[in-house]
């Protein structure tokens, strides 16, 4: 299955998002944001089910940076 990166605003939000998604059974891993996706140091979460992940982040007021689609 394909995975997608969601760039997060900080390591704290990346950790928070990972905990949230994992608790809902959504696969999620944290990794450094690749240079093409961010203009500075940053962290992203790698997810399998993008739409479910985005919807959970939104429902829980968890900010993230725009996706590179």
């Amino acid at each position: 299955m394909n995975t997608t990166l969601i760039p997060m605003t900080s390591i704290t939000y990346a950790m928070k998002a990972k905990k949230l998604l994992n608790s809902r059974g959504v696969y999620c891993e944290i990794q450094r944001t690749p240079s093409g996706l961010s203009s500075g140091c940053g962290y992203s979460i790698r997810v399998k089910d993008l739409s479910l992940a985005l919807s959970l982040l939104e429902k829980n007021n968890m900010p993230h940076k725009p996706l590179d689609r």
């Binding site: 390591i11 928070k16 940053g42």
Partner: protein, 375 residues
Amino acid sequence: MINFDNSATTYPKPAAVANAARAALLHYGGNPGRGGHTLSLQAAQKVFETREKAARMFKAQTENVVFTPNCTFALNMAIKGVLPQGSHVILSDHEHNAAARPVYALSKTKGVSFSVAQTYPDPKATLESFRKLIRPDTRAIVCTAASNVTGAVMPVKALSDLAKQHHIPLIVDAAQACGVLDLTLDDGMDFLCLSGHKALYGPTGTGLLISNGSYQLDTIIEGGTGATSASLEQTPFLPEKLESGTLNTVGIIALAPGLDFVQKMTPKRIYDHEMSLCKRLEDRLRNDERITLYETDRMRSPVLAFNIRGIHSEEAARLLSRKGFAMRGGIQCAALTHKTLGTLDTGVVRFSPSLFNNFRQTDMLAGAILSLKTP
């Protein structure tokens, strides 16, 4: 040596705190938030776990928990971050220098004016005292939750209502209160400044600035945060905005079992135990006409301040140290409080037990105090 100077820092610490510090040094050697490799992510995960624990304990959002080197830093960040040039601030007459000095410094550098509110055994009278000092240009109230000298407890909840009525933030110095009083953001303060190494039983070098997100702080320190690094502008969001530079990973990781310890024992049980020791000492000292006790007429945290006529407090503390008791004499970094008590010249001796002290130790101390010879 029996430590009765736990208001300065609790000692001993729970074994789990020491074990966590050792584990942090041995196994969590990466720099959290500073890389994508496993060592960094593992350290970041542990820091996040402590942040979450603190957030749950003090009823905050995780991202609104900021780690600082100590409570003094937290107070400086809140006070200097919230007060604009030429504004007015009110603080209580029982503030530690950690709150009073930043305010005084702002009066010299940013034209900030300040008023000192008198406090009383009756919380309503204290509240009224603050209310009368509010002016159109007042931009914050700063108040300790409990005096580090006498333990006098301030009406934080009522003050938070007052602050809200006037749309200004309440900054609370809870260095001595959290861990023995059940204080959380639900009590209404906007900024809760804490020490990790006192009644939260963590290591020295740990402090917390916890906020409810209602007020944005200007920074007093800028630098690397591991986020938004391509910009020269400081990272704009919490907690990174206020956490420039490498964190005290070892201290933060070891703070977590300190928080667990307090939650397991509960602040109420800790308060009850420590207060019973204060009462025991108070009862033993009260009948000696040479001894003056301070502010025992009010609600207080578990501290007992006293003086022995004819012996300066520093000298009394020195003599007691020779008998095996760690006590703090002098003015405990609290000039305003001692001005209020009329003890700026003499200071006081402060008895501050922890959960690890007991009645036998307290009775031994009482005997040692009563045996001190007045010249």
